[in-house]
Amino acid sequence: MDILVTKDLIKQYGKGEMAVHALDGISMNVEKGEFVSVVGTSGSGKSTLLHMLGGLDKATSGYVEVDGKELSKLSDDQLTIFRRRKIGFVFQNYNLVPVLNVYENIVLPIELDGNQPDKEYIEKIIEMLGLGKKVNNLPSQLSGGQQQRVAIARAVAAKPAIVLADEPTGNLDSKTSQDVLGMLKITSEKFGQTIVMITHNEEIAQLADRIIRIEDGRIVKGGEANATGK
C-alpha cells in the first residue's frame, strides 16, 4: 500500500529564462513501513523534494499525496494540522524548542493537536531511544546525538503516517551518526514506521530499504517501490 505518492512534481523558482527547476518532474511512491533514503549531491533538489513531501512548500505543478490526501488541496492551516498528525520531521539541526524539556518537546505535536499523548507508547519510545534519564532536561543540556534522538522521538510520538528526516546526522560525528541511524532503523522496524531520509552520504543511505537517487531535480534511480531490487 502506497503511503506516499508523487506525480510529475515540478518546483520552479523564477520565471522565463531565469527559471530554475529545483524539481523537474518527480514521480515516486513509498510503501507503508518502508525506510527510503533519498541521495543526491548538494543542489540536486533533495531538500526541496522533502519540503514538498512534508507540505512545507507548494509545488509549481504535479501533486503529492500522503496517506490518501492530496496536499495541494489543503489550506495553509489544514496543511499544518495534517502535518502534525501525519508527518514527523527530523531536521539536521534538531530544532528543539529551547524552553521545553525533553518530554515536553516530544509531546509538543500531540498537544498542539489538542490530544492526550499515549503515555505508554511515549515511554516506550523514550526508553528505546535511551532518553529515560533525560526527560526533565532542557535541550541545552543535551549532546547533539541526544538532541537528535529527542527529535526522532518527537517525530514518531504522534504515530505519523511518515517520518521525513533531512540530513539527520549532518551535524553529528560518525559514531553518534551510527547510533542515531540505528535508532531510526529500529523505530522503522519496531513500530512499522515509514521513513524517508535525505542524505548526501552514500554510506548512510545504504542503511535504508531503498535508495532514491536524485540529480538536477530528476530521479535517476529507485523512484518506484518494488521496481528495483527488493
Binding site: 502535518r83 502534525r84 530544532n95 524548542v97 518530554y103 509531546v107
Partner: protein
C-alpha cells in the same frame, strides 16, 4: 604606541551601520526626543518656578537690589554710589501720586527710574521707557482701572499730587507693563524731564523738611549677597555719613530681606525632589535607549564579529556604536529641546498660578538647554555603555552563534511531565531574556505608578476639608483688601448697601457682622511667661500685651466652634463675658497650648492711648526673640503704654479662630470676642468698623446667590468682595485638575516610552525566534496557535506589569502620599488602585495586539525560507 589614523574608516563604518538600521534609528531617535522633552520640560518648569518664587519674594521686598539708600539728595547719591563695593546701582526718584477718582482702589505712585532700577524692579516694559516730559508708563492694572487699552501711544490726562500742589498733567503713554495684583498700588514711570520740570530743587534736604518728593533712592547691588548690612553701613560711613537715625547727616538704609530670609529651609527637600525627578527621567530614558542599543547590538552581532575577525579592535567597535548614538542625538535632542521647552512654557503658568497665585515668570535661562542637552547626552551614553561593551568584547567565533537568547537561559532542568501547553511555553519564553522582560515591565510600570500616585493624591483631596479650611459659613462679605489678608482696622468696612442688597436676595436666611474697634488699641493684662507667634513675653504683674478684640453679632457667635467652656448667649449678652480665640494647626486641631487664659479666668482689658518703644531698645534680636538694648540685654518693658479706660471680663470659653472669624493675620498676644454692643462701648462715639459679614443662604439658591454676589462685586461696588463655598469649590477643582493635567502629561510621555519599549522587546523577541517559529510550524503548530502563544506572552507581560505597578503603587502610596496627606489639612489619604486597574483594558489591548502586529510585519517569509535562513 603607534597612532593609526583610522578615524575616517571607523566613521564610515559607523555611517554604513547607521544607514542599515533605519527602523532602530527611528525608535532610538523617538526615545531620545522623548527623554530630552522630559528633561527640558523639567528644567523649564523648575527654573521658571524658581524664578517666579524669587521674583515674588523680591517683588514683595521691593526689588532685586541687595540694599537701598533712601531719601537721598542728588549730591548724596553721587557721593555714596562712588564706593567700589557697589557693583550696580538703580536710581529711583519719588515724583508724586495720582489723584484720580477711579484710582482710589489702586493708588499710583509716580517714579522716575533709571534703566538699572527698572531692571531691578522686574518691570518688563512693552513699549519705551519715558524720555519726554509728558511720557508715562503705567501697569496693566492701572490701565484697566482707567479703562484704557494695553497699548502705547494713548493720551491720558491725570491729576498729579506733588504734595505742595496738585496739577492736571497731559500724558502720552509710552509703554506699559504687566501689573502685579499682589500689590495694592501701581508704579507709574515718568521721565527725568518730568521730574526736573515739576520737582525742581525739591527733595534735597529730607532730614530737615521730610520732603520725599524729588528725593532719590539708590538700590544697590553688591558683588554677592553676603554681609549686606555690614557693607551698606560701610558705604554710608565711608562717604562720611552716619547710620544712626535722627542725626543731621544720617542716611536711612534698608536691607532686602528676601536675601536674608531665603534661609535653607526646604532647600534640602527641593534638592531631593529635583534629584528624584532627574533620576526618574534618566531611568525612563535609560530603560528604553539601553534596550534599543542592546537589541541592535545583538542583532548585528555577526557584523561586529566579522569586523573583529578582520581586525577591528574593541575600542573601534565601541566608537562605531557611539558615533551612531551621537548621530541620533544630533537629530533627536534639538527636536526634544524645542518640544520640551514649549511644553514647559505651557505648563509653567498653570502650575505657578496654583502654587503662588501670582505671576509666573518664564525662564529663558540658558541653563535649561544646557542642562537638558547634558542630561540627555549622559543618559544616551550611559545607555550605550553596556551594549558597546558586549559588541566590543564579542569573540569572532562566538559572534556567529550568539543570538542573545539562549545564552542567558541557563536553567538546567525543568521538572514536569505535564507536557507542553501553549501558555506554559509562552511563560518560559518570557524567561529567555529575563533582563529584557524586566526592563519592558519596569518601563511600562513607571508611568502607571506615577499616574496612580497623581490620582491617589488628587483623590485624597477632600473638598469639605478644603472648603472648611477657608470658609465655615455659606457666605462671607467684606471689602476686597480683607481677602488679600491686608485688612486694617482703620478703614475698609463692608458697606451697608452691599449687605442690604444681599439680605434682600431670595434665598438669604440669616447673617451677622464682625466688627473691630476704630483705630483704638486694646491691651490685656497678663502675668507669666508666654510664647506667642514666635514672640516671647515675659510679663509681670500689671504688664500688658496687645489684644485683638472683635465684636460679633449673635449669628456669628452662634457659628463659633467652641473648644473649651460652654457658650451661653443670654449670659454673654450682658457684656460681662468675652470669648478667647485660639488658632488651629495645619491638621485643623486647636493649638490649646497657645491659649494664655482659660475658661473662668478674669481678665482686664485696657484702652491704650499711646504706645512707643522704650528709649533703651536698640533692636529686635532674632535669636532671643525679644527687644534688646545696646549691650544686647533683653529689655524687660520694651513698649511703653499710656492707658485710658479699662474693664474686667470673665472668660466664658475658648473658640477656634478660623479664616472667617478674624482678620486673617496672626500675631497678637490674645484674641477676644465680645458682643457687638459691648465693643461699641469702647468707642467714644459708638463707631466701630464692620470688618466682615457672614451669612447663611438656602442651598437650593446657591447659584443665584453666588451669581448676585459675583455681579454686585464686579459692577456695583468693585471694592467689595466675597467668599463662598462655591468660590472655594471652584478653586479646589482647579487645584485638583492642574495636578491631574500635569501628572497625566508626564505619565503620558513616560507611558509612551514604556509602550515603545514593550514594542521593541516584543519585536526583537520575535525576530530572534523566527527560525524557531518556522520549526514549530513544521512540526505542526498552526499560525493561529503561534499567535496565541504570542498573545499569551503579551498577557504575561501585562500580568507582570500589573503586579509590579500595584506593588509600586502600594509602596509609593504609603511611603510618599500618606505622609504628605497627613501633613496637609485638606488631604485625607485614600488609597486608590483605580488608575492602574482602569489602565488594564488599554494595556491588555496593547499587549495583545502588539505581538500580533509585530509577528505579521516581521515574519513574512514561508517556512522553508525561514528554515533555510538558519542553515
Amino acid at each position: 604606541m603607534l597612532r593609526v589614523n583610522n578615524r575616517k574608516t571607523v566613521r564610515r563604518l559607523a555611517g554604513k551601520s547607521y544607514k542599515s538600521n533605519e527602523k532602530r534609528n527611528r525608535t532610538a531617535i523617538i526615545a531620545i526626543i522623548l527623554t530630552t522633552v522630559l528633561f527640558s520640560a523639567f528644567f523649564t518648569i523648575g527654573l521658571s518656578l524658581a524664578k517666579s518664587l524669587e521674583y515674588n519674594s523680591m517683588r514683595l521686598s521691593g526689588g532685586m537690589g541687595h540694599a537701598s539708600l533712601k531719601y537721598l539728595s542728588d549730591k548724596q547719591y553721587d557721593e555714596l554710589t562712588k564706593n567700589p563695593l557697589i557693583k550696580k546701582v538703580g536710581k529711583s526718584y519719588f515724583c508724586g501720586t495720582m489723584e484720580d477718582g477711579v484710582l482710589i482702589k489702586r493708588p499710583v505712585e509716580l517714579n522716575y527710574k533709571n534703566k538699572e532700577d527698572i531692571r531691578q524692579a522686574f518691570m518688563e516694559i512693552n513699549g519705551e521707557a519715558p524720555v519726554e516730559e509728558n511720557e508715562l508708563v503705567l501697569d496693566s492694572i492701572a490701565l484697566d482701572m482707567l479703562g484704557l487699552e494695553h497699548k502705547a501711544g494713548q493720551k491720558i490726562s491725570l491729576l498729579v499730587n506733588f504734595d505742595d500742589h496738585t496739577e492736571q498733567v497731559e500724558f502720552t503713554l509710552s509703554g506699559w507693563y504687566e501689573g502685579d495684583p499682589v500689590f495694592n498700588s501701581s508704579i507709574g514711570l515718568v521721565s527725568e524731564a518730568f521730574k526736573n520740570k515739576y520737582l525742581a530743587g525739591r527733595g534735597q534736604k529730607y532730614n530737615q523738611d521730610y520732603d520725599a518728593y524729588g528725593s532719590c533712592n539708590a538700590n544697590i547691588m553688591f558683588q554677592n549677597s553676603s554681609e549686606i548690612e555690614e557693607r551698606i553701613q560701610q558705604v554710608i560711613t565711608e562717604a562720611g555719613y552716619s547710620i544712626e537715625e535722627g542725626k543731621e547727616n544720617s542716611i536711612a538704609y534698608g536691607v532686602n530681606w528676601s536675601y536674608i530670609s531665603t534661609g535653607t529651609d526646604g532647600g534640602r527637600e527641593t534638592k531631593i525632589a529635583v534629584a528624584a525627578g532627574l533620576l526618574l527621567i534618566m531611568l525612563t530614558g535609560y530603560l528604553i535607549i539601553y534596550n534599543i542599543f542592546q537589541i541592535s547590538v545583538i542583532r548585528d552581532i555577526r557584523f561586529y564579529g566579522l569586523l573583529k575577525t578582520i581586525g577591528t579592535t574593541g575600542n573601534q567597535i565601541r566608537r562605531i556604536l557611539i558615533y551612531q548614538a551621537l548621530r541620533m542625538s544630533v537629530l533627536g535632542i534639538p527636536i526634544g529641546l524645542v518640544t520640551g521647552y514649549g511644553l514647559g512654557l505651557i505648563l509653567t503658568p498653570i502650575i505657578a498660578a496654583e502654587m503662588y497665585g501670582k505671576r509666573a515668570f518664564l525662564s529663558r535661562n540658558p541653563l535649561i538647554f544646557a542642562g537638558a542637552v547634558l542630561f540627555s547626552l549622559i543618559t544616551v551614553f550611559i545607555s550605550c555603555i553596556k551594549p558597546a561593551r558586549i559588541a566590543s568584547r564579542i569573540s569572532p567565533v562566538e559572534a556567529v552563534k550568539y543570538s542573545g537568547v539562549e545564552k542567558s537561559y541557563l536553567k538546567k532542568q525543568k521538572r514536569t511531565t505535564h507536557g507542553a501547553k501553549l501558555y506554559k511555553m509562552a511563560f518560559s519564553n518570557l524567561g529567555r531574556n529575563k533582563k529584557r522582560t524586566v526592563i519592558a515591565v519596569i518601563s511600562m510600570s513607571l508611568s502607571l505608578i506615577l499616574m496612580n500616585m497623581v490620582f491617589c493624591l488628587s483623590s485624597s483631596f477632600d473638598l469639605n476639608l478644603f472648603i472648611k479650611r477657608f470658609i465655615d459659613v455659606d457666605y462671607q462679605l467684606a471689602e476686597a483688601s480683607y481677602f488679600n489678608s491686608d485688612y486694617s482696622q482703620d478703614e475698609d468696612p463692608v458697606s451697608d448697601e452691599f449687605i442690604k442688597a444681599f439680605q434682600s436676595q431670595q434665598g438669604f436666611v440669616d447673617g451677622g457682622s464682625i466688627y473691630t474697634n476704630y483705630s483704638k488699641m486694646l491691651c490685656v493684662e497678663a502675668e507669666g511667661e508666654f510664647e506667642q507667634w514666635g514672640l516671647h513675653y515675659s510679663l509681670q504683674k500689671g504688664d500688658v500685651a496687645e489684644a485683638e478684640v472683635y465684636g460679633m453679632d449673635s449669628f456669628v457667635l452662634d457659628s463659633l466652634k467652641m473648644v473649651e467652656g460652654e457658650f451661653d448667649a443670654e449670659k454673654f449678652a450682658t457684656g460681662k463675658y468675652v470669648l478667647l480665640g485660639v488658632a488651629t494647626d495645619d491638621q485643623g486641631h486647636p493649638e490649646m497650648e497657645t491659649a494664655c487664659f482659660h475658661t473662668g479666668d478674669n481678665i482686664k482689658l485696657k484702652e491704650c492711648t499711646k504706645s512707643e518703644l522704650a528709649p533703651e531698645v536698640e533692636q529686635y534680636d532674632m535669636e532671643k526673640r525679644a527687644y534688646v538694648d545696646k549691650e544686647g540685654n533683653v529689655v524687660r518693658k520694651p513698649i511703653l503704654y499710656e492707658f485710658g479706660s479699662e474693664k474686667e471680663y470673665e472668660i466664658m470659653g475658648i473658640y477656634e479662630l478660623s479664616w472667617t472669624n478674624m482678620d486673617r493675620s496672626y500675631g497678637s498676644f490674645a484674641v477676644f470676642s465680645m458682643p457687638t454692643s459691648e465693643l461699641q462701648k469702647w468707642s467714644e462715639d459708638g463707631r466701630i468698623n464692620r470688618m466682615s459679614y457672614l451669612a447663611e443662604g438656602e442651598d437650593e439658591l446657591e447659584t443665584q446667590l453666588d451669581g448676585f454676589l459675583e455681579q454686585y462685586t464686579s459692577i456695583v461696588e468693585p471694592t467689595m468682595n466675597y467668599a463662598s463655598k462655591k468660590v472655594y469649590h471652584a478653586e479646589f477643582d482647579q487645584l485638583k485638575s492642574i495636578l491631574v493635567i500635569v501628572g497625566s502629561i508626564l505619565s503620558g510621555i513616560i507611558g509612551f516610552i514604556g509602550i515603545l519599549n514593550f514594542i521593541n522587546s516584543v519585536s526583537t523577541g520575535i525576530i530572534a525566534r523566527k527560525k524557531e517559529f518556522a520549526m514549530l510550524r513544521s512540526i505542526g503548530m498552526t499560525v493561529k496557535q503561534l499567535k496565541k502563544m504570542l498573545v499569551y506572552e503579551g498577557i504575561y507581560y501585562l500580568a507582570f506589569t500589573i503586579m509590579f505597578s500595584v506593588s509600586g503603587v502600594l509602596v509609593t502610596s504609603f511611603t510618599m502620599i500618606r505622609p504628605l496627606a497627613d501633613s496637609l489639612s485638606f488631604l485625607i489619604f485614600k488609597l486608590t488602585l483605580a488608575p492602574v486597574l482602569l489602565a488594564v483594558p488599554v494595556l491588555a489591548i496593547i499587549t495583545g495586539i502588539i505581538p500580533l502586529v509585530s509577528y505579521r510585519s516581521n515574519v513574512k517569509k514561508t517556512v522553508v525560507e525561514l528554515i533555510r535562513d538558519g542553515e
